[in-house]
Symmetry: C2
Subunit: 181 residues, 2 copies
Amino acid sequence: MTEDGRKARGRRRRAELIAATLAVVERDGVAGLTHRAVAREVGCPASSAVYYFATLDDLLVAALSAAIDEYIGQLRELVADGRSEVDAIAQLIADVGGPGRGRAMAERELTLLAARRPALRPIAQRWRDQVVEVASQHTDDPATVLAFVDVSEGICARMLLDIEPLGYDEIRTELLRVLGR
Amino acid sequence: MTEDGRKARGRRRRAELIAATLAVVERDGVAGLTHRAVAREVGCPASSAVYYFATLDDLLVAALSAAIDEYIGQLRELVADGRSEVDAIAQLIADVGGPGRGRAMAERELTLLAARRPALRPIAQRWRDQVVEVASQHTDDPATVLAFVDVSEGICARMLLDIEPLGYDEIRTELLRVLGR
DNA sequence: GGCATAGTTGAACGCAAGTTCAACAACATG
DNA sequence: CATGTTGTTGAACTTGCGTTCAACTATGCC
């Protein structure tokens, strides 16, 4: 039994639209997100974007979800390559100062939006849960886990704001330090 | 030599517009900020808002500056009342879970915007410098200062996102912990 | 081949935004 | 009081948005 070719194309275009949404948010921020802008990015009519995502909220939810999934995937990939979990997180954060800056800004803007829109909250929580899991493998102290999550969030904010970003080694050291190593 | 009454009224209206800008950003986010929205908030014609702040960026800069100044003022006031600096910061962050939530979200959204617009960056830096100063009075270790800034930033993010906010005592404990106390 | 379903599109509409500007009011100055 | 400057306003204009919808195409099913 073969699959419906229509639905296959539908999923493909849906994925294109989500990628375009992230590109738009990276470039112009959430404020610049419109159905038309996403459609322009893909090169398809605006009504197509509306067909798949009736509201802008639908686009935001899908985009944040995709961004978080990608981060979690990168984390797992780094770990699978033999890096320790903390090293992997340090690497991800270090990238924020380089090629990952745009994506990080988009993710951060969407996460902040979660404070306003409940629909985004469980998605944003997914990444926090992942960080909690990493910290939990290094300590049993709940306060330490708390501090680890907070400090990684804080470093990320610093990287986006500061002119001079921290390097991988410094981030790794700070993360290990909060774990008491 | 008396002052020009026109300029006095001008400053008053300017202040009204800045307060209105913060109110709008608290309620609707940066995305909802328009000259017309600010004007509606004040109850004046839109062209008046444009007269004082030609671009939306001008409004954003003024609003973030005012918000940061207010936070710094609150911090100094708490210290003047006899609280320790760390206790004062813990109190400010604790308020984010309560009455200060709206303002905190506005401040945070504007600070994040600083990553995109250089004009906002030195203003956002003012608050970070203040936190650095507080930490510096408790330690000489640069890494500890770094961690203190990051963790306070991280707790703030947690407070805005989480359903169950941390209480004052927990925040104070986490801050003292990162200082090594 | 014929029919139903899923996907796709362009056009039209109403609304709210930023921008511009000419006219008006308030004030300081001589 | 007369004059020039500063502040202030409402209206007109253009642009771009979300929304809606009727028409159209491609695909699966019998």
